[in-house]
Subunit: 479 residues, 2 copies
């Protein structure tokens, strides 16, 4: 996959939002080697089993056959633990929270731009904690952060929840997810956060001297570390990892797009407002129009709006309107001779249907520019809210509550997400997948019906087994 | 190489400066695949010859032997041209200017942290132009930008110039470089910009319909393109590429560091100012000191200073002073009970010797905070200038003008950079390298003696051949 500048611009806005949110939580960026000795992956049995089929392997370097093949990282838990086991000695080193912005490879057979690609870009956070509770809490915190990002920036009303055992990350105790509904009603896993427990810590001997112990000797830098596991003052760390990738760009495109093209939420749009100069009849001087357009653009950019003038020659205003609509630019500002004379302009919103009169806001004053800037910012806020509102209504209309397996199959067959009480086995889940043409358990949503028994109390009847279920699950076909 | 957060923080500041400068020049970020078919490299003969010895090869993917090995990119000219040949059809598509932030691999035998590593992070810009002149001009522009970055942000008084033929990039017509002098007087190539001419364009058939031609048919999307080279309306693009890598972090460390540790220029320091609270005698309440320290920190951060309080317990102020000196934090602010009472504080500069009285600025008022903020910003500016000044004096004292090969050898032997008139052959250059224990022609500096004949006119006598030379070259040992 090649990411061209317009798509990369969306990714840069995703990066900016997340990077700043991570730093506010005390996470620091770092960088770990991409090529990982194969033996590192083998140290965690589930992990290597999960990733082995989709690895790219470097077997030659500098003109020589390598003694041990190197894995092109599909994710970095193993190399991170290799380093963490050297960096962490004492409880004073905890919590340790790092993130890296990196490329990863997973050898996929069927690819789809942005959504499933052999190589993709992502961030992967890795944290280590003194207690299992703190790790669990942190994994929850980061999926909550992803949910906030999805809702606030991407205008995606995702369903956040817990993955089933068989859908969890290879090596995790629990995987949390945000699931987004695309325009064709398929689900897209748009971000995950894993509670890794001490699985990798045990595999890599990542231990720390506890507060109670006090002494840091015998830490993992100690050559005698593996034999000193009887030392009760040393404990394994508990870890998390969490990631969002360029797949999010695909999610934004496929959730909000319509028949005319993209519709980008202003928070992520590389260009938030395009100014189209509308020249008068042939022979009239275009210069005053271009100048007025540029002046408006400068005022908007100074105010922090990502605005641009389309002064391409040889294209009609209508052609330009269509072009930028297809690109999903949230707002268009039209400036013609009459507008310049009247000191006003026309704004057109991309989020509303083209035929909708509401999509055009005529008579927005351009003088003084403060009035225009205020109006533009307000309208961008309205568009951001409107896309979220539309996506939320669409999502809610397309999740169907089901009480039996027959109802589930019918709902899936009609393209819905099916939500129902679930206490089925791994085999039951596989059966659903087989018999529905691929629907999987997307998650046990955090938001459960009032009568749910997840925290003790009520619950319902499992739609598959008829047994007692304490929570509902959502099934859907997905990308 | 693992980049820990502190080092990565320096890289993030380098990225911020460069990324914004690129965007101001109209460059957009994009992303190209990392794994490149081996046959792509073979299309440009010099290129594959230069890079073949240091490639990492992926030969297995998804559990299968690949039909053609994939190269883990050592640089991206080939894959970029593969895409450019599809994107560029008309003169209207030019100039095309993209950049990517990425990791690259070069299989090095002898590695050194940050300076020479098997994997490193960098940015690589790639541009395509309609004329050779524009490409040449652009390559010069970007080396000038690198020079400005080095001087203004990294406080490195680099020597910018042109590489000799044998030191040029494999596939380039001309390579420009910035060469920095490290504390041990070795040279470090800290950034390069290449005029690629139409070498890659010819290899990948990257052509455009010229203004004169007008028609875009027969462009490179045309299956008949290779046979239509007789079409005079199609022309090869002329290209540049340019890059700066995490090696720059090593350059900053090795150029400015002293026996106490790092000395970071404020423009790149992850932490510009560290506040060390100095608690009173045992039994006195530490809270007012911590509160005062935090308040000062908040005021500084609000004003855009990267400030931090070191409130670690169990470490003495003296220990903290040494720790942050080693880390190279430019400014230290000490806050003790007497300072709080008097509403003032002590600032200590890292750039001056510890014994130097000037390094401590006592009595800086902390109330109102505006006075402190002003003083801190001013002092950070002074430190930035002082590091550049020190490095410039050091550089100038360590470049020696030489008039003969004997003088050159002696200068190199004594650790100097040797500068002299040069019109030698490739073989002469190799001879210098062999007979001096590794000194190479670092560059023909842009800044030439007044009597130089590079633009016609004077010149001098080549120190090696005795023949006429139109410019001086610099020889030095390097990393």
């Amino acid at each position: 996959m090649v990411i061209r500048p317009y798509g990369y611009g969306i990714w840069e806005n995703i990066q900016r939002w997340l990077d700043s949110a991570f730093k506010n939580k005390g996470v620091e960026n770092a960088y770990f080697p991409q090529l990982i000795p194969y033996s590192f992956l083998q140290k965690e049995a589930d992990h290597v089993e999960g990733f082995a089929p989709e690895l790219a392997l470097v077997t030659r370097g500098g003109g020589k056959e390598l003694e041990e093949p190197l894995v092109v990282r599909p994710t970095s838990e193993t190399i991170v633990n290799h380093m963490f086991s050297q960096w962490i000695q004492s409880h004073r080193d905890l919590p340790l929270m790092v993130n890296q912005w990196a490329n990863v490879h997973r050898w996929e057979m069927r690819t789809r731009p942005f959504v499933r690609t052999l190589e993709f870009l992502w961030q992967e956070g890795h944290t280590a904690h003194a207690t299992p509770e703190e790790a669990r809490e942190t994994a929850r915190e980061f999926v909550a952060l992803y949910e906030r990002f999805a809702v606030e920036a991407a205008a995606l009303p995702v369903v956040a929840g817990r993955k089933s055992r068989i859908e969890s990350f290879a090596g995790a105790n629990v995987t949390y997810t945000i699931e987004a509904m695309m325009g064709d009603r398929r689900a897209l896993q748009a971000g995950t956060s894993h509670d890794l427990g001490d699985n990798f810590a045990r595999a890599f001997n990542t231990r720390f001297a506890t507060k109670e112990g006090g002494s840091v000797s015998g830490g993992s830098n100690d050559s005698d570390a593996s034999s000193s596991s009887s030392n009760t003052n040393l404990a394994f760390v508990h870890q998390t990892s969490w990631g969002v990738s360029t797949r999010m760009v695909g999610g934004v495109v496929m959730a909000h797009g319509d028949d005319t093209g993209l519709r980008l939420p202003p928070a992520l749009a590389p260009t938030q407002l395009i100014i189209v100069p509308i020249l008068g009849k042939k022979g009239t001087d275009p210069l005053p129009i271009y100048e007025a357009a540029q002046k408006l653009c400068d005022a908007l950019c100074d105010a922090g709006v990502r605005a641009k003038v389309d002064s391409t020659e040889g294209k009609s205003p209508g052609w330009k309107f269509s072009h930028w609509e297809m690109k999903g630019v949230p707002l268009r500002l039209e400036v013609g001779p009459r507008d310049v004379a009247a000191g006003c302009c026309v704004l057109a919103r991309r989020d509303l249907p083209r035929s909708d009169e509401r999509s055009k806001v005529a008579g927005v004053p351009t003088e003084p520019s403060g009035a225009l800037v205020g109006r533009v910012k307000e309208t961008l806020g309205e568009i951001q809210a409107s896309l979220l509102e539309q996506a939320t209504a669409f999502r809610d209309a397309n999740i169907r509550d089901v009480a039996s397996y027959a109802e589930l199959k019918q709902a899936i067959d009609e393209g819905f997400w099916a939500r129902g009480w679930w206490a089925g086995s791994d085999a039951d889940e596989e059966r659903v997948k087989e018999e529905t043409g691929g629907a999987t358990l997307r998650c046990f949503p955090f938001e459960q019906p009032e009568e749910a028994g997840v925290n003790g109390g009520g619950g319902g009847k499992c739609l598959m087994s008829g047994g007692e279920a304490v929570e509902v699950a959502i099934f859907a076909k997905s990308y």
